[in-house]
Symmetry: C2
Subunit: 685 residues, 2 copies
Amino acid sequence: MGYGEVDQTAINTIRLLAVDATAKANSGHPGAPMGMAPVSHVLFNKFMRFNPKNPDWVNRDRFVLSNGHGCMLQYALLHLFGYALSMDDIKAFRTIDSITPGHPEAHDTPGVEVTTGPLGQGFANAVGLAMAQAQTAGTFNKPGFDLINNYTYCFFGDGCAMEGIASEAASTAGHLQLGNLIAIYDDNHISIDGDTKCAFTEDVMKRFDAYGWHCEYVEKGDTDLQGIEDAIKRCQDVKDKPSVIKLTTTIGFGSQLQGTGGVHGNPLKADDIKHVKKQFGFDPEKSFVVPQEVYDMYHKTADAGAAAEQEWNKLFEKYASEHKEAHTDLARRLTGKLPEGWQKSLPTYKPTDDAIASRKLSESVLEAIYEAVPELVSGSADLTGSNNTRWKKAVDFQPPNTGIGQWNGRYMRYGVREHAMAAIMNGLAAYGTLIPAGGTFLNFVSYAAGAVRLSALSHQRVLYIATHDSIGLGEDGPTHQPIETLAHFRALPNIMVWRPADGNECSAAYYVALTSKETPSLLALTRQNLPQLEGSTIEKASKGGYVALEQEKADITLVSTGSEVGICLEAVKTLKDEYNLTTRVVSMPCMEVFDAQDKDYRMSVIPDGIPTMSVEVMSTMGWEKYSHEQFGLNRFGASGAYKDVYKKFEFTPEGIAKRAKKTVDFYKDVKPLRSPINRAFLQLI
Amino acid sequence: MGYGEVDQTAINTIRLLAVDATAKANSGHPGAPMGMAPVSHVLFNKFMRFNPKNPDWVNRDRFVLSNGHGCMLQYALLHLFGYALSMDDIKAFRTIDSITPGHPEAHDTPGVEVTTGPLGQGFANAVGLAMAQAQTAGTFNKPGFDLINNYTYCFFGDGCAMEGIASEAASTAGHLQLGNLIAIYDDNHISIDGDTKCAFTEDVMKRFDAYGWHCEYVEKGDTDLQGIEDAIKRCQDVKDKPSVIKLTTTIGFGSQLQGTGGVHGNPLKADDIKHVKKQFGFDPEKSFVVPQEVYDMYHKTADAGAAAEQEWNKLFEKYASEHKEAHTDLARRLTGKLPEGWQKSLPTYKPTDDAIASRKLSESVLEAIYEAVPELVSGSADLTGSNNTRWKKAVDFQPPNTGIGQWNGRYMRYGVREHAMAAIMNGLAAYGTLIPAGGTFLNFVSYAAGAVRLSALSHQRVLYIATHDSIGLGEDGPTHQPIETLAHFRALPNIMVWRPADGNECSAAYYVALTSKETPSLLALTRQNLPQLEGSTIEKASKGGYVALEQEKADITLVSTGSEVGICLEAVKTLKDEYNLTTRVVSMPCMEVFDAQDKDYRMSVIPDGIPTMSVEVMSTMGWEKYSHEQFGLNRFGASGAYKDVYKKFEFTPEGIAKRAKKTVDFYKDVKPLRSPINRAFLQLI
């Protein structure tokens, strides 16, 4: 079809919106938008299928800007194609409470699929989106009903290419033969330190080839629109491999500083802005200008996308009549609601039931609910047998030609790639049809911290199954024993950190995790066996904290989690026998959920007038919020049989009782002795 | 020279020590030691130069077991070659307080260079060790004095090969043309989930080739000792590239379960142990057997190593006479002590000096001390201009043929590879001649969490220069604004987390960081300007916390860090004017250092009888240890100009005063009102 003047005008319009918005904000990154405007134009106008009026259409093509600092590119495109992002929003770039923040945030901006900016994340999210497409297609497509066939497109730059998370994700995508994933590498040779030759001289395409990707190269990315189009077409034709296009561009194309680090992260100077506008045939005195023919062209494309959605809706209606059950399932999944009554499948336990490790309890939950919750997909970063993340009849998610799985498999083999696993799960969740759970050792969730943070920030319903949760893992020793990990994630906003003490609490953790549409969860689970508690129920534990043992006229409250709750209950007898003290015990499987209960309830659990001591075999940080004194472990652990390790650090009934006695004595003279729940003022939330 | 029976006996002895030790511990990983015993034998006995009697000899060859779960391989070698690791130590494998913990720990076991186990770390440490060798050689070698020319050898497995951190490090090593680095890839096709074909089907050697590595392949790694030797020799001959040998081995070689996941992480069954011993010609009824000829052979090699060290010592004496200054410098560095009087170079500030961002203050420290502290090497993960980590006259550490640096350069260009940077710094520090500092945004230190943890666990003197430390970074927004990060690292044992409030505090942070030989430090630094405080000195700040403003009969103590200390000082006036309250202000730049002061001092800073409120513009977690009430930010931030963001969240004199007033009122009736420093019992440390 060829490209003409209006195409060039559109490209320059995108460039200048980025120039004007960063100048007005006096902050931001004009360079990448100016360099990638041509490929954006070709991709969005010639290839991508989307309806700006319904950014949630499930079969839309997904676009991920992994180099999220270039977000003015994305905001400009969203605006020009007619998403609910106005010119005023563009003008409010990088100002408080705008929908155009400094990096793209999925939760706040229509048309932004995932939250990017932290480098490499978007690339791995794109792999997750493509996996979700393949899994959902494998599940729902039927002969004559190619319902789910969208592409996932991803832009990434040199920074993303250097990040390990992107390497992990690329290797995964190659293994999985994700034919609907097309990534475009902005090879502009510039990162913040200047020319990439100072640190990054590898052959990126050879590396992607090694991962099993189809590789294309477009040399003149600034101008060769037809070459870009042809390359994308060839990528679409490769069905059994993900594709990457290396696109050599000039960062800050058009600026007097083009091709230098000077245009990466700073607005252009006033005279340079005029220079660029003149050069592009725009009025140098005017800002935020969109020629009507650009709106016209893009809105026509948007209309075609809307029409495509209409066609799809008809197909989906027809699907309803021929595949009623599948239709109902998919339609329900898109609402985010779980199937009616699914929670009846959750296992419950009596105190007389066997002691069981909470990682095994978690496995029993998965085994019990996987049929009732078909959108749940599980997986592990190569610790399947240790994380207990796989139900017995699970089918692996694999390309069928591998002979070891199917596209509709619900078990993901992430390999030893914790960070990519987490970011892929963010992509799986963002697709809209799946709820991902993924396992690793709790200590190695830290490898994935960058992506866990984005699960929280972007409100993704993702479950981290984090086993081997303490020194209780024993012999593997300090390199594997978490000390700081729960404190870390408890300090992270919008994530629920669970540490269940028994079977009912474990079921409660899954109940709350799966029904919380906008919040990820981390389940810290033991390697060692735990007894079933006397006072636990799913309902009580679903409040995040509850009284596991109530006593009249108690001298002290012990508040604890997970494997230590049982030891605290044992300590009750020691405290009575040795010190004549009466002890209440509170189990607090999830602080965040407890914090969300009303104050009366919280005060009833941790009341005024009684000293409270926390017991948890890791960093005490954070426990002051719920206790006057803290018994924990603010040093690294030790390698040995777990009972020996617990004994070394005095996490025994005697060790607890000794400290509880000191706590009672210490607070005897304090009047009034307030519950730590009682605070002078509320925190901003 | 060929290989004979005694070589095979030695190899099988190594295998059986791993079999016996894991069986006795009823825990551990026999598979990798059994598979890698042949290459270990060839490498340690034919190539490596080391003196077991002096594991600290600076020019020894370094060995890193990146697949650290196979540590019985390393312990067996250390024992057999005569390091201070006895057969009783082998028998105490994985028991409490042994020097043979579940994964190798550098700080505790002679001959273990770096702490490994968390996958991929050791590989990146090895890159750091090789960089340190190249940098130290570049600095100290002179014509006729090839003082520093050791090799770094690294074993790694499929797990390490999958980890992003290893990808980042491999790309870095290829760029840097590290000819003295030789990595051996245990291609055994098995990881915990079974055959690696379920997740890992990339072409690993093609990938290393893409990074610029020299690649070798030995197909029969179980038996082809000569092939292994020849491959290592060819690698040694390649001087301008790091080398990798892909070695196909059989995991658990000799076991009935060889070649399966069953031998990866579980001891062999009793009958299998007998089977293996019989097969290898050992007495099936005996355990922990070392034929004398094996000791003899290995001790001869060790003696040759000792002799090599003697030769080297002579060369170093001669060096003393011809290059006195360099000799003194190197000899001093090896003691870990800084040059006499270096601290006199630290900048000091008066209250009348300009307001300056603490990232700039940090730059001024580097500028002031780099000549006085020649072992200091700086760098950044591609944020040099933002982290302010580079002194003006710095030379980049680069292969000279790149034309952009020298081997003796002291500035590292890590690229956008935070995790590898941190692990490389652990390797740089472990080498013994350098103190590495490396920068990124505080938020992205989280990408490096796995390696930061090992800085702490393995007692490495590493400095993390973490700029853009809060919502004060402004427009980049929530994706870049740390909330949980300081809580995370404060909860990690053995790391000092600094957040200096002004120039003197910044100098104090460097003073304590550089003089703490066994503890890493993280310096959280602002993007925005900070005033120089009235009451600060290097000496006071070096106590971690001090009274910045004392007042008679104070109604409240405000305790704060970094950018909020100045705002607290402003709030003093607001509190007096609006509420007639008298306010003390404490600056607490480093909690860990404050905790190390005696109790009298700490109580003088945060005394009994006065309510204390903390002010820090991020998670309040951890502040309960020093305050009764906490003003912080337990939600994600916002994108906007930093003053607008501070205002939105009420981090203003008014916002502080309002909450301080509530705190005073709330605690009026509590008697006695104890300082939070006052506790019922001490924590285990």
